[in-house]
Amino acid sequence: MTMKITDDSPPILSALDRPNSYIGRSVPRPNLARLTQGRAQYVSDMTLPRMAHAAFVRSPHAHARITRIDAAAAKKAPGVIAVVTGTELAKVITPWVGVLTHLKGIKSAPQHAIAVERACWQGEAVCAVMAKSRAEAEDACELVEVSYQELPAVTDAETALDPGTHVIHPELGDNLTFERVHVAGDPDKGFKDADAVVETTFVFGRHTGVTNEPRAILADWNPGEERLTVYQGTQAPHMMQNLFAKHLGLEEHQVRVVTKDVGGSFGIKVHTYADEMAAVALSKLLKRPIKFVADRIESFVTDIHARDHRVRAKIGVKNDGTITAWEIDDLTGIGPYSVYPRTSGIEANQIVNLTGGPYTCPNYRARARVVFQNKNVMCQYRAVGHPIATAVTEGLVELAAAKIGMDPLEIRRRNLIPDDAHPSSGPSGIKFEALSHHEALAHLDAMMNYAGLRAEQKRLRAQGVYRGIGFASFVEVTNPSAAFYGVGGAKITAQDGVTIKLDAQGAIICQTGVTEQGQGAEAVIAQVAASAFGVPIERVRVITGDTDNTPYGGGTWASRAAGIGGEAAWQAGKALRANVLACAASILQATPSDLDIRNGSVVDRASGNERLSLAELARIAYFRPDTLPPGFQAELMATRHYVPRAWPFAFTNGIQASYLEVDVESGFVTLIKHWCVEDCGTVINPQLVDEQIRGGVVQGIGGALFEHCLYDERGQLLNGNMADYLVPMAAEMPDIEVGHVVTPTADSELGAKGAGEAGTAGAPGAVMNAINDALRPLGAKPLTDMPFTPGRILQALGRV
């Protein structure tokens, strides 16, 4: 395994070093110009003939029986086309249950597109109104009279399993969704052998994705062709095709899902949402296009939430810094339903998998419990489980280091899995092909001038300025195989495909099952295809997001697009090159192996001299095939698929550092600088990787400092708007320096792993550790309760 540190423009890797290779180059994304001109096409921009707008009457109660719905006045309101209740819609669409067989024992109850008889969280849709305009639909929603009988609301995860607590779904017996216990090594002996034990409780505030474009869907059932076309801002068109077909009683070939521009996703748009399923069912019921775009309050009360975890955690450490044992007890409340089809057990499961992941200590005891409650649902959001597992692990490591008086980088040097020890596994048994923790740490140390910052910190403390430095090493799940969802029975494909065809002028068209929501998947596919086949990137067009016109694929989530879609593009490009060279050889009466395709032309492999332009080859193959030798058929379209098989996941690794200042009078935190060194294997486009890291870091900072869905004890969301729910804005964010170590995966020729989760995975832990580092000399109680608001910081300082 070769490993090297790269700067912002890493040299091209030799195995992929074809002439005119675009791999490793910061090529601008091909689809950006129209986005800067107001010429994008988001689903929220779309209209269709006969289209009606849907708005929903939503439950104001966290838990209530629906005793009566009177829609008479609403039906007569201006512009109204139809008013449909859950009971009426249930005749068109079947309910679903969000469980997976590989999460042993996970249970949930049937969820309807529109609530039937009972609403289980504040914001659940109880009735739909369709009108000529959204405004008229909303007006009429006001006229729908719904009578509710309030039921006990289960809101506190800590008491959800108490015998006296109301059971939300009586048929399930209790409020336990899922529980996992994992013991590895000998944790009891580990804690006994420790010179010091640190025990604390970490709390992570429930927060959400706040995509700038809310969820949007436009469903068009055409009875004339028995076909459903759904324009949807989704990350997984083929998954949605399967689900729409399944629950509407259609064949999959009757459903087409088209995904154009998507205004942000981050895992928010990879789930089944009841109101989106309702929109599709309403189109079938009413035989006309139905558009639904969530407004901001609807987004806050229905977009999946995440991260609401309480983790009791313990670490044992010897005086020489050796970590001897880990223990965690995670509790999370996920709302009234496990979200379909990925379930709401995955984040807790990931926390068990990932805690202690970067380190050699094998003694580990973990329990995770997932419980139902009457709040909005929780499910997978960017970096699923990583920010929690990383903050817990790294929080424990730095608290342990402080307790034994060791430098936080030194304790990591003594415990991180050695770079030459791979393949290896984490304490939970997760398998690592090859990681580079120590190389990354050394790179970070130099990049941030750690020693210099410590000196500056010391000098400023003497002046009453409290700055802190915090770190977070992490491992990151990318390139998931079928082990993630497929083995659990979900129709979520781990493989992906790319089809490349030569057009009649010698350009290539790539159709791919991975999708684009801003990450740069189109650019990556174009770069890889151009390099593998041999054309300038200007001669590559990429088509994504259309189940009628792309190979079957999983879409873009869990950092899979570059590593999995990219490899399929690489293989398809090579296959088409072989086909085109066979055709060129027959035209030129040459041997294919003596030829190559470079910069858009068929050339003599040895001399590089042009033998035939691709345009001329395409002209002959498409328009004068009669001139080709008898029996030769040119095949100018090639498809290849790829799925990781050797490893369940292509784990990556990295380390982050945060440098910040705490105003001990006000409790405000000023972020001064942030660093991240990560290893995503082959870097296809350094700029895109860096920007994934930066965006991810800021999303992680949001969870650490600002973002929090605040509920009262009755299950009412108190801050469902962007004025009260704080998100990171430009003025508060630091510049972020990114470095790379390159350890390609040997599972693919391309060697690329993912990079989308890394920033979000490490940032909250690094910021938490930096705050605690800043406040340590003041004797503050360590802060472990995110978000770290000024009020909480002043409390830790004992000032309020």
Binding site: L32, Q37, S133, N212, R296, G518, R694
Partner: protein
Amino acid sequence: MSERFHEITITVNGEEVRERVDARKTLVDFLREDLALTGSHVGCEHGVCGACTVRVDGVVVRGCLMLAVQCDGGRVETIEGVADSNEIADLQQAFIERNALQCGYCTPGMLLTAQELLRSGAVPSRETIRVHLSGNYCRCTGYQAIVDAVEAVAKARASQ
């Protein structure tokens, strides 16, 4: 009760339009729904996110906090207009080269807000750029690439 619907005349991107609009209709809904100018986006609908940023009589405003009827007789410029006039061609190019947009939803508002700062001709500090853009929400980039792009354009314009 006064009239609910009003005839308004607005010059939008240099073209005069006459429409009958509901008094309650916001400017951004009017642009998107009545004129099909979908480059201005709706994000939060209460003036926080900046996705609906447009210019009215030369001043950057939130399209969700203004009513269409308030613009009667006025001049509205949207991203489509400033893109077609090449007013911000250098800024758009800088955004593309620096990958200062990912999903692109905030971009029209971000460009118009940045142009407001850049029109002064000065070279603002990175901190000034960050503060000026602090009313425009971007979930994707973490802002640094946007700051880089705006800074690069400020420097390039100043050196011309």
